[in-house]
Symmetry: C2
């Protein structure tokens, strides 16, 4: 999402003022690929805003999720991760049922994704739901945990 559209878009989701902490957290997601936990976002933001509070981080992450600017992902360790929404990117994640970590797997083939989209959007329309994003999730053991079994 381009910088200048933040405010306009945010207004629809309860973000009425553009503040330092919010600017900073959005920047962090623009600059860091990957799955950041709230704690990690907090530590990164801390470099620029030493007084930022954890509550602000959570509040901002919440709003950005509602805006569909970031995706919230919850794993088995009961900790949420957040990642920037990128157009047309469908993730395949491995969730290790043993250690709780999240791993990104190679993307599915293009036409498989196209067929998935078609299938899902058809169902979505019938059910009156609003699809923000979707992904394929694998439950299983990561390489490390598989070895130690």
């Amino acid at each position: 999402m381009p910088y200048r559209r933040w405010k306009r878009h945010g207004h629809r989701h309860g973000m009425h003022r553009m503040t330092e902490p919010r600017r900073c957290i959005m920047k962090i997601f623009e600059e860091n690929a990957g799955h950041l936990s709230a704690e990690e976002v907090f530590m990164l933001a801390n470099r620029y805003l030493p007084n930022i509070g954890m509550a602000t981080v959570y509040r901002t992450l919440d709003i950005l999720s509602q805006m569909n600017y970031i995706n919230k992902i919850v794993s088995y360790d009961g900790r949420a991760r957040y990642e920037l929404v990128r157009d047309n990117k469908i993730h395949t994640h491995l969730f290790c049922v043993n250690c709780g970590r999240v791993f990104e797997l190679p993307s599915l083939s293009e036409d498989l994704i196209e067929r998935l989209k078609k299938d899902i959007n058809g169902n979505a329309e019938n059910m009156g739901i609003d699809v923000h994003s979707f992904d394929v999730r694998i439950q299983g053991l990561c390489p490390e945990c598989k070895k130690n079994k």
Copy 2:
């Protein structure tokens, strides 16, 4: 999983004794389709075992997950749900980013699932991971929350 294989299978995952609470919880999953929270399992078990403790429920759910007898699903409300593993059933769940509830969507078409399996198992082999199950997850708004926006 047939009753008589429980013990044999469980032994590999740290379940060395077959006890009343464990028998009861496994029965609950056999008899209840759907996504049960730990709290719900606790209340159902309570009917038969009035003294069962919450800790036992969590411990048992943990072992049954490790055994791949049930699937653990974590939603946006920070509460886990568990469901019996059924062969060849690939779920498509909607996770409402607003209210946290989980909804089951109509199953994907047979051949789409077959192609997904092939693709995923190929990647799994390359990465040395152990796939217990996989599912498609949609992040978005449920019918109710969509209306109230």
